[in-house]
């Protein structure tokens, strides 16, 4: 029996995550990634994807470098001036940004690996966790976080070279904690969003927290000169004082404690803070392990309710309920509309994507209103059109890859006697409905926060929407057919092939925003704000024509790309 696996030992197998077998597995996985990368370069699509990756990397690097210089310089300045404990503020910024980027911006969360494919192989649980974390390190949010951590570390070390070693160890542990926490949050959010009941609870809590955060926002208080404002300001200052005293028990505060104690040569106290930080990391790792353990055992995250055999037997005898139609009109367009709506309602991550822009408007709306100067009144006057840009963001994935979630179901569209343009129209109608709902909600929030906008601004905003929506749908339909990728609606991950599509879609959206800004800004600068509306309406007529043209050519284009569409989406 040469070559066969040796007979299993009587006890359980002990394959550590650094065992020979584990190392072979990592090597095999790395090798397969390299093969897949080079194989992907054989196609034009693969090359475009690589180009998009490079462009995205440059953009993220540019975005990350500025703050990292600021954080490094700030840390140096604070530590040099003898305010080492004030660096806590920077660590809190780092901590909240790292976790916020990861949870609120899926593009920054990176690829959350589909490790369930490894279930069939003898991969140990330790290896499972390690692989999950390696993917986590490669996420843009982690890379940005690591860069900022390094910047703070360098800043403090240059100012206080004597504690450079302590700073390095503490920040390494702090970075590990952040990495673990971001992956834990992502893993648990995915878990909660996978099922209806937990999804509803999470969404409710999420919105409640976002709204509650506004209570702390000084921007909520309208008149900065009133005595009431002064009282509230004092209350906020007291609250911050209390928070500053309490923050010492949380990881950013513990990290700063470790710095400060080491700086005062109280090594034992510094080690104690480090130990507490390690405890946080350990506890977070435990939570992550709890989640990943269930996944590694082949957990089924289905929507189907668990039912007892007795209940199943009862149901078998009962008459099968027909199920309520979501919309009460027939025809293929309505069928596609209804089918996609059901898909959306069953996809936690997609609902989450739709909710995030609303939350962003609520959270950052306060900053817009109160923080900093209001240059020429632009932010006040144009709050409505600026906020409308957000309304598009939650729909980007849906609009620019509208066939991606079909999986093997895409075959059905080629088998049925319904033209593909009817299918695309049904999808566009659903996305239009969602956009209008989101736009209405955002408009409501803007009016609530900033008051009613100028009529000329309202007219220009409506005209811009009439231009941007068909243009966006036309671009989205082209991208959906030309650059499709298989989307997994059950997971909050960036899918393979999504980068090129996402970048192209963002470029298209950016150009529509620039056109709107040039027209509205130009006419306002010339002192004739009403001129923007007819210009944008003329552009809207043009964009409707382009949309109709794209829609009428959909069947022909899809026919010519049928093989690659099926290959990409039903693979």
């Amino acid at each position: 029996m040469a070559g066969l696996e040796p007979a299993p030992s009587p006890g359980p197998a002990r394959d550590g995550f650094l065992s020979r077998r584990a190392r072979q597995q990592y090597a095999a996985l790395a090798w397969i990634q390299v093969c897949m990368f080079f194989n992907s370069l054989r196609t034009r699509r693969g090359n475009f994807e690589l180009g998009a990756r490079v462009v995205t990397f440059i953009i993220f690097t540019a975005v990350a470098l500025g703050p990292s210089i600021g954080l490094g310089f700030g840390a140096w300045a604070m530590a040099s001036a003898g305010h080492l404990r004030a660096v806590a503020l920077l660590l809190w910024v780092l901590f909240l940004s790292w976790q916020g980027f990861s949870a609120l911006a899926p593009a920054l969360a990176g690829q959350n690996p589909e490790l369930s494919q490894l279930l069939r192989y003898p991969v140990s649980f330790g290896s499972w966790i390690l692989l999950y974390l390696i993917y986590g390190i490669a996420a843009p949010s982690s890379l940005i976080g690591l860069l900022w951590t390094a910047a703070i570390g360098i800043g403090v070390s240059v100012a206080r070279p004597a504690i450079a070693g302590w700073v390095a160890i503490t920040l390494a542990l702090f970075a590990l904690f952040n990495l673990l926490l971001s992956r834990t949050i992502l893993a648990w959010i995915e878990r909660w969003l996978a099922q209806r009941r937990t999804r509803e609870i999470v969404t409710g809590l999420f919105l409640l927290l976002a709204l509650a955060a506004q209570a702390l926002n000084p921007a909520f208080h309208q008149d900065y000169r009133s005595p009431r404002y002064s009282h509230q300001k004092q209350a906020v200052v007291r609250l911050f004082d209390r928070a500053a005293r309490m923050q010492g028990v949380f990881p950013p505060g513990l990290a700063i404690d470790a710095f400060a104690e080491a700086d005062s040569h109280r090594t034992l106290d510094a080690a104690e803070s480090l130990l507490a930080l390690a405890f946080y990391s350990f506890a977070t790792a435990g939570l992550l392990a709890l989640r990943l353990r269930a996944e590694s055992r082949g957990e089924n995250l289905s929507e189907a309710p668990r039912r007892s055999p007795a209940a199943r037997a009862g149901a078998a005898k009962a008459h099968c309920p027909r199920g309520r139609p979501l919309i009460n009109f027939s025809g293929p367009t309505a069928a596609v509309f209804e089918k996609d709506l059901r898909y959306l309602l069953r996809s936690g991550p997609m609902l989450y994507n739709l909710a995030v822009p609303l939350v962003m408007v609520v959270v950052f709306g306060g900053t817009m209103r109160g923080g900093g100067s209001d240059f020429l009144g632009i932010r006040h006057t144009y709050a409505l059109p600026l906020a409308m840009i957000w309304a598009f963001l939650g729909l980007t994935r849906l609009i620019s890859n509208n066939l991606g979630a079909e999986g093997h179901g895409i075959q059905f569209f080629f088998l049925s006697p319904t033209p593909i343009r009817t299918v695309i129209l049904g999808k566009n109608l659903l996305h239009l409905t969602l956009f209008l709902l989101e736009a209405l909600a955002i408009a409501g929030l803007v009016i609530f926060r900033f008051g009613a906008p100028e009529p000329s601004v309202v007219a220009a905003t409506v005209a811009w929407i009439l231009f941007a929506v068909p243009a966006n749908f036309a671009a989205g339909n082209v991208l959906s057919i030309r650059m499709p990728y298989r989307a997994n609606l059950a997971r909050m991950r960036r899918e393979s092939g999504a980068l090129g599509n996402g970048l192209s879609s963002m470029l298209a959206q950016f150009s529509f925003i620039v056109i709107g800004a040039v027209v509205v800004g130009g006419s306002a600068a010339l002192g004739h704000p009403w001129v923007a509306t007819p210009i944008l309406l003329a552009l809207a007529a043009l964009s409707v024509l382009v949309y109709a043209r794209v829609l009428s050519s959909v069947d022909r284009v899809v026919e010519s790309r049928r093989d690659s569409l099926l290959l990409e989406i039903a693979k």
């Binding site: 289905s302 929507e303 149901a315 078998a316 099968c320 027909r322 027939s330 069928a335 039903a570």
Partner: protein, 274 residues
């Protein structure tokens, strides 16, 4: 090569070819399937069966050649053809995040059935296929056999005149397979044509009146089972030629024994396997 006479065709294929780069998956295939026939389309792995069925159903465009379904040119009138056919393709074409009932109602509407007819047929099909017991279960959570039954239900909901089935019984339990076979046979009795591929030769032998065999992209046999038997028997010499040949024996004989070891040939072994 064995070519035998046919009746007037429900499916007519002429010089059908499909190339993938330098590789020719289907090579100059010509074939007629008469209306009302239960037609088995066989071949070893990689012979071109699925490629052919994809071209016949509109999932893949041919490199060259002509396909006529019920006298309609597929290339010229694809939507009219699709209204007449039902398909259970290789990937089943299901939408995983719908329930069975939602999926069938969706399919019915995509074929242009009115709401009442769709609802009525959906209920009937779910009962018939024993899929009504778990109305809230999503398709993605179905077993493979249940998904197969649902795909078959979707393929017949609009009452097609021709049914294309790619491995319809794979993963389906014996009880359900019996029900499905009875349903398919009743369909052919009423005049429907069924075009089926399967690796289970016993099923094909029991169900199909006519069989074609494709090998390396080329059609190597086509006719009724009796005609194929007679054709193969005529080429054989030896003591067993008088016995009635099974479809498996015909198949092995026609595809040239590739992959089939005779008793005289040494069987290749994997030395490391227990």
């Amino acid at each position: 090569m064995l070519f035998l006479p046919r009746m007037s065709p429900a499916i007519s294929v002429r010089n059908l070819t499909r190339r993938f780069g330098p590789f020719t998956a289907v090579d100059n295939l010509s074939l007629d399937v008469a209306a009302g026939q239960f037609f088995g389309f066989l071949g070893p792995n990689g012979a071109g069966k699925s490629t052919t069925i994809k071209m016949l159903t509109g999932l893949l465009s041919p490199t060259s050649g002509q396909i006529e379904i019920l006298g309609l040119d597929f290339a010229a009138r694809p939507l009219d053809v699709k209204r007449q056919i039902g398909v259970v393709p290789e990937g089943l074409a299901l939408f995983g995040r719908l329930t069975a009932s939602e999926y069938l109602r969706f399919v019915g509407r995509m074929y242009g059935l009115d709401r009442d007819t769709t609802n009525h047929r959906t209920d009937e099909l779910l009962d018939f296929m024993n899929l009504a017991a778990e109305p809230k279960k999503l398709v993605t959570d179905f077993s493979h056999g249940m998904q197969k039954k649902l795909a078959l239900a979707a393929a017949v909901i609009h009452g097609p005149r021709i049914l294309f089935l790619d491995e319809p019984f794979e993963g389906v339990d014996a009880l359900a397979a019996g029900t499905l076979k009875a349903m398919l046979q009743r369909m052919t009795e009423r005049g429907a044509t069924i075009f089926l591929t399967s690796h289970v030769l016993e099923i094909v032998e029991r169900l199909c009146s006519h069989v074609a065999i494709i090998h390396q992209g080329r059609l190597v046999a086509n006719g009724s089972l009796d005609e194929l038997r007679a054709g193969v028997a005529a080429t054989l010499t030896g003591p067993d030629t008088g016995q009635k040949l099974t479809l498996e024996e015909i198949f092995l004989n026609v595809v040239g024994g590739s992959g089939a070891a005779t008793s005289e040939e040494p069987v290749q072994e994997l030395s490391w396997l227990a």
